[in-house]
Symmetry: none
Subunit: 253 residues, 2 copies
Amino acid sequence: MKQAQRLYDIVNVVKEQGYMTIEELTKRYEVTPQTLRRDLNTLADKGKIKRHHGGAASIESSIENTPYQQRKAENQNAKLAIAKRVAQLIPNNASLFINIGTTNEIVAEQLLQHQGLTVVTNNIYAASILSQKQDFSVIIAGGEVRFQDGGIIGEATRDFIQQFRMDFSILGISGIESNGALLDFDFREVKVSQAMLAHAQHNILVADGSKFHRQAMVEQAHMSQINTFVCDREAPSELMSVMKQNDVRFIKI
Amino acid sequence: MKQAQRLYDIVNVVKEQGYMTIEELTKRYEVTPQTLRRDLNTLADKGKIKRHHGGAASIESSIENTPYQQRKAENQNAKLAIAKRVAQLIPNNASLFINIGTTNEIVAEQLLQHQGLTVVTNNIYAASILSQKQDFSVIIAGGEVRFQDGGIIGEATRDFIQQFRMDFSILGISGIESNGALLDFDFREVKVSQAMLAHAQHNILVADGSKFHRQAMVEQAHMSQINTFVCDREAPSELMSVMKQNDVRFIKI
DNA sequence: CATAAAATTTTCGTTTTCGAACATTTTCTA
DNA sequence: TAGAAAATGTTCGAAAACGAAAATTTTATG
């Protein structure tokens, strides 16, 4: 195996395992420890891994690995499927709002394939992900950062959002009642979401099936304000008829 | 097989395999290594593949460093030492501004030991780190997110910052001239930093020694506006005298 | 805190790969 | 088909990658 190939593989294997010793890597690539050290130092210089005595560790990109991020793992498959479907709905060069929610972070990752997007968001994780692409214009709302989930919330945030008129909004929520009420836990987030709803042409609701019977406190909006609802499950029949009445396009993956 | 055909095929096979050695390609096309080298160099010039010693890799599977990642890896030890010292200067329950910069992200990590801080920042990474603590109040400025480093910049950002009056500002910069001029690369960031300087009681400058002779374009501020300067090296004597004249406390780690 | 063990850096010689220059063959075109 | 242009092959000094051994630093342990 050539050096370039090995370097690439080391980055992946270290990222995957979290930590690799020189010895383990020696066995894997059948080169001397000396060569491995040179490789690891090269990669550390480039900021790809973190060098330690005896081996190397992956870099936690300061925005990952927060306790909150672990919640992202729940229902991962459903969320990924939803995210991919949502990404298909968004054309290149579109402008969109993205609000808080784990599903929305995965949506952000999927949107990296697009080009020329303009995104206004109150989700610092989504902003961080999307700002990796040079041809995206990412605008983050100002305000207080909620400690659990990196959401930016409050009245100042709502005012900020209201400056914009976007093509789409992609909204995640905490709960859905069968009568079509969309619920959240935090009234400050609700204000922001309402502003996004009011200032986007086409509103896309994303939610995995676990939201159907989840209790939440604050009424955020109503299904009648939504244009498209992407979900991984069949909705309760009462909700289905509410959607039908209001011309909501329901996409089940 | 003709050259054009071969070139086309090489691109595909490299993309498919991720990496191909000269030797493998020699066998595949039955030409001399020299010819393959010419081919690979041609393709690399056109940006179709990535050339390496012994072969070539596809563009995607590149281990190239983003400039930002690299900068973060540079001087890691100095930055950590500076960050720890800065954290000591900040009392519990203080309010502070934090601006852009890799050192400031490490400062944010160190501040997690504190209690009851109120932080206003235009650095999404710092915001993300600090928002992990429930007893912190983290406020992020709104505005456009710069793709290289997650900095939030611009006039709207400055206006946002100006709403606040804080105890401290922790400022990272791009360059320091010996006459005491503090420099940055981006005028949009400069506006934000100036606002922080003007609205904090006590201004702390953080910089590792590499900043002393770095050229940067925009004058951001002057050393006379700084109260405390934390650095890992001795400053040039001219700068030392400027600091003395202006009652700047210089802390060398 | 002193010592040993482990890991790392440094140095140096060997092998592999590279690139430039020139020779030869193939392809194109008038 | 003659001549030019492009592609390929050959040769050789330079550069890069690698392994081995010595010198140095870091870490563990009594």
